[in-house]
Symmetry: C2
Subunit: 143 residues, 2 copies
């Protein structure tokens, strides 16, 4: 999560909502890294998780990341959570909870609604305070 | 929807799950077109809707597609439905319903769970039979 926070700070410096993400192999090696780039590309789909999942699939040369983990500083939104499902990510580790935009513990609850068949391991609140503080500072400076 | 079906047939010919999508401007002009390319790129995020939304944002040079419509042959999955939400798509028109993978009328119900604030116009079942038949033929031939 330290490295994901480092990536989130890079996003912050570029005026992007500070979210960083990485994908770990089953051996816990970093396979891909990314930060949010929505503003840079004017692409609302360019969340850190989407970029890092695509990068990891390219690197592994597979559309499945079985046994891999996604580590991200903020609770993934429903788009990113469902993307992790499509990639068959085994574990999602996230920092800050997101009561408005989150799609795992909030809102669409991608992995816990009645029809879901896919249940990755979810570990939320890892370095929660540091991840949250970075986001809060960003939005405070926007005002 | 005829043009979306035409795109879906292109996917079919390439061995991709046959889904086609396009984005229409507020004046109902086609802004971008795409078909599913998950296999070609071994990228589980390369659904027709994701590609077409990205293309449309690039074309319009904006991360918001206010007033635009997404037309797609199959009920969007939660990833694609949430992507349309991030892009502020005004209307989603789809063909076949998807009781297993759909994220609008099924499963995560991206636009109708308790916490959602975003309610695009949804028109499902347009040329349902033709869209469904194409998908059914594809999966029959896979067996």
């Amino acid at each position: 999560m330290d490295q994901a926070l480092h990536l989130a700070r890079k996003a912050y410096q570029r005026g992007e909502i500070p979210v960083g993400a990485l994908v770990l192999s089953p051996e816990n090696k970093i396979v891909a890294q990314a930060f949010n780039q929505v503003e840079a590309h004017q692409n609302p789909l360019a969340h850190a998780e989407m970029i890092v999942l695509k990068k990891a699939c390219l690197k592994v040369k597979s559309k499945r990341l079985m046994g891999y983990s996604l580590v991200v500083t903020l609770e993934p939104c429903p788009m990113c959570a469902a993307a992790a499902m499509h990639a068959r990510i085994a574990r999602i580790v996230f920092g800050a909870y997101d009561s408005k935009g989150g799609g795992i513990e909030h809102g669409a609850r991608i992995f816990s609604h009645q029809q879901t068949m896919y249940h990755p391991e979810i570990i939320g609140g890892v370095r929660e305070h540091a991840c949250q503080k970075l986001l809060r500072n960003f939005f405070m400076n926007l005002r």
